[in-house]
Amino acid sequence: MKQLIRMLLGAAMATTPLVAQDVEFSVPYVSFVLPNGLNVILHEDHATPTVSVNVWYNVGSAREEPGRTGFAHLFEHIMFEGSAHVPEGAFDEWLEAAGGNNNGSTNSDRTNYWINIPNNALDLALFLESDRMGYLLDVVTPGSVDGQRDVVKNERRQSYENRPYGMAFIELYRNLFAPDHPYSWPTIGSMEDLSAASYEDVTNFFRSYYGPNNASLAIAGDIDPVEVRARVEHWFSDVETGPGVPPLDGPAAYLAGERRVVLEDRVQLPRLYMCWLSPAVLNPGDAELDIVASVLTSGKSSRLYRRLVYEMQIAQDVSAFQASRRLDSFFCIIATARSGHTLAELEAVIDEELDQLRSEPPSEREVQRAVNQYESGFLDNLERIGGFGGKADELNRYYTLTGNPDYFNEDLSRYRAVGPDDIGSVVRRVMNNNSRVVLSIVPEGRTDLVAGAPTS
């Protein structure tokens, strides 16, 4: 798909040694909407004889009811357990017999599913996706809900409870967002709520959110769009449309003051988490904060890595990221102290570096270095058609967020437009010392290592 990367002749952006500075990223597609409301996006890439079928349902844990946290994700599991014309277990068996693989994931805002298959098995993938979109409830039983409830509880044990520092984000969500904000609970849910999820919840949830009018189907790979359009119409036209889904909503998020939280865990070393509420995905400040994260912690010459790990050698690791979400985002800095050092020491250095960024913009080179890394990441995304973050998934992501599946170049332009002054200004605006959550996770009994006593 070399032709996808069009040269922008005469564009006046050739002053700095950018990666592929004169290249516009584009993933051409055709799209159409079925009468039942299903949005469809098709993209050709003939590099290998494979196809990826990707479905986004515009629902995540932010749609859950209180007392039913974890339900959207539990439901994702039930989607693999069979539908009216697909016996339990057959979803995976048939795909494996065709040389395919598949997965799904849930976050606060959306649920996505993908199937990667050789090009001869596209019909099978469309049959399976359309059957569970149209006829899931015909076969779901209280027993199948119980089965996946156990699996999900073990996912929670494996990924949270039994993992060192695994409870950190559950604690952070609870402190960053008020209880009535849908980001205040984790997508994995609480054990109690998982136990309470009922068969009736499954049917209600499916009817409310899993209609074709609340979904987008992207197919990328070795396809002929004209033929595939006909196959999509064949398999999905009998899926009944669902009720309208109101836009995702939540109360305004704000942090009145600084919250300090302490958690004791079965760990050897203490770890510090400093988090702020930040602008929603694709909003002004969102890309800037990605660049801030890079300037602070990406690579050995980044500011916090250099000071904490390389020069002072008081931290084992340091990382930062902007967690971009639809209603509100959050930005975190995370660092692990080495033996003999406290989280208060780490916090002091981090605060010092943030003050520095507030008062003086970073160098052109630091910002450009970060932008170049993002640009290079865009190239990498163009190599894969499927899986999480492959082109089919990205087309659906951009469509869901902006209505434009081929938002690649617009997205990258946000990063290309960031200058040093934007960095100082976003740090001053978002990363305020008086409205943040500081979480200390310390070894059991070692509260002497915390960064400040807990606020009540």
């Binding site: 070399k2 009216a84 395919g100 050789p118 073990n154 036209s237 760990v267 050995k300 003999g340 058609i385």
Partner: protein, 486 residues
């Protein structure tokens, strides 16, 4: 074909009620599939530089990216008995200062190019890999060459990495997965065997490691006669060979002795090793024995047999422990294929209160795979292994990994084209034969890392064999004292 009538069909769809206008799809049977696509690989160019360094090149022009992997026959298998971690630390230190640049400037420049240069070690090889946008290839190759061939090995940087690693050893005490993995390797091969000793290094060995040790290892083992380059991406041999010659052509050095991996006795009578991790919400289980070298004639039957047992989502282990019983988020098995026999392992993290029941199901499945498999399972497993193969060639790094295997095991050029056919030729009898040869449920080591107070009694009641109860310190050694810095 109705596809040919598309415009008309669309018009009808838009005008009339869709469900009535269209013929309802036949959902009573899964759709029939046409013939699977053939793997159509671009040619593999085998070239060399003036110093004899082998170059294997595949053109791939989809995206303007280039992958260059330098694979060096210098792995942890040659680590001396009192120098565990030597190969691995050498690779780690390559980019902590090289050529004329210090660690920070080097990192800054690589990041600025939007490139990534990684260094790493396995048991038999080390690798420096470059992934870079085509427009930055020239400078990135110079930096890659400096990293691979002209590392500084400064004592101050070694001290940093030493502190980093010893701190990592501290953190391992938190990680049930790592505790289980370390004990599993040691139990199968013994502490002094290259497959049993910790590649990452031990506290004592890391503390005594000096820059000169790394320099000597690098001088003797990082040599062109022992190495090869894999190049995949938006280049041609004409465009890239002069660049490779310029940065790697001057490199010299004769081949060192080949690393020998000693023979080791197979696991004997079944035994349970229970490592106490108080308060653990899950138990990490590893069950296994020594497998077989990569170049065995049984390679393809083993791939298929393992897929049925625990190599895929719909495999028996996962269906049983996850889907039927709900004991785990996932259970799998695998053979590690290496120049000498690597381990076979079946594994899962299971919830604490069903640790014993999970062990029973593991043992049931290890016994059941010795019986003939169904035709359905056989077909599914063969297709799963064979038909997914083309998907591995999607990215420049994916193609490079496939080529590495070709060179490391001296496989013929038609290996890729033969692969699908070889897998599809595996029979039910083959599967049963290799299961019986390589899987012996009576002669396995069973590792459980979990909360002893919750699981020990119930495991004893299973009578799986003698039980050895251990502490985390007995597996990993005491938590390193971190007084030392610099």
């Amino acid at each position: 074909m109705r596809d040919k009538n598309l415009p008309l069909l669309l018009a009808v769809t838009l005008l009339a009620s869709p469900v009535h206008a269209q013929q309802l799809p036949d959902r009573d049977h899964p759709p029939e599939l046409g013939a699977p696509p053939a793997l159509d690989l671009p040619p593999i160019h085998r070239l060399s530089l003036s110093n004899g360094l082998r170059v294997v090149l595949v053109e791939k022009h989809d995206v303007p990216l280039v992958q260059v992997n330098l694979v060096v026959g210098a792995g942890s298998v040659t680590d001396p008995a009192n120098g565990a971690g030597l190969a691995s630390m050498t690779a780690e230190m390559l980019d902590e200062g090289a050529g004329d640049l210090g660690a920070l400037d080097l990192s800054d420049e690589i990041d600025f190019l939007g490139a990534s240069i990684r260094t790493g070690t396995g048991l038999h090889n080390s690798m420096v890999s470059l992934h870079v946008p085509l427009s930055k290839l020239d400078r990135a190759l110079e930096l890659m060459s400096d990293i691979a061939l002209r590392p500084t090995f400064s004592p101050a940087e070694l001290d940093r990495q030493r502190l980093d690693r010893i701190t990592t050893l501290v953190q391992w005490h938190d990680e049930a997965r790592i505790i289980a993995g370390q004990l599993f390797n040691r139990t199968l091969y013994g502490r002094l065997h290259p497959y049993g000793m910790p590649e990452f290094g031990t506290e004592d060995d890391l503390r005594s490691m000096a820059s000169n040790d790394l320099r000597r290892f690098h001088e003797s083992r990082y040599v062109p006669a022992n190495s090869f380059l894999i190049v995949v991406g938006d280049v041609t041999s004409e465009s890239v060979m002069p660049k490779l010659e310029a940065v790697f052509g001057w490199w010299t050095g004769g081949a060192p002795d080949r690393a020998e991996v000693p023979e080791v006795a197979q696991v004997g009578e079944r035994r349970v090793y229970l490592v106490d991790k108080p308060g653990a919400a899950q138990s990490e289980i590893r069950i296994g024995r020594i497998g077989v070298p990569r170049l065995t004639d049984d390679y393809y039957p083993l791939l298929v047999m393992n897929t049925i047992l625990g190599g895929s989502f719909a495999s028996r282990l996962n269906m049983n422990l996850r889907e039927d019983k709900g004991y785990s988020y996932g259970a799998r098995s695998s053979f590690s294929f290496r120049p000498a026999a690597g381990p076979f392992v079946a594994r899962a993290a299971v919830q604490t209160d069903v640790t014993d029941s999970a062990l029973v199901e593991f043992m049931n499945e290890l016994r059941r795979i010795l019986e003939p498999v169904s035709d359905d399972e056989l077909t599914r497993a063969k297709n799963f292994v064979a038909l997914r193969f083309p998907g591995r060639f999607q990215t420049v790094s994916g193609v490079a990994n496939q080529l590495s295997e070709l060179i490391l095991y001296d496989l013929p050029d038609d290996y890729f084209n033969q692969y699908v056919q070889r897998v599809l030729a595996v029979t039910r009898e083959d599967v049963q034969r290799v299961a019986r040869e390589y899987i012996d449920p009576e002669r396995v080591a069973i590792i459980v890392v979990g909360d002893r107070s919750q699981v020990e009694e119930k495991i004893r009641a299973l009578n799986l064999g003698p039980i050895e109860v251990m502490s985390i310190e007995q597996v990993l050694g005491p938590v390193p004292e971190m007084a030392m810095r610099n």
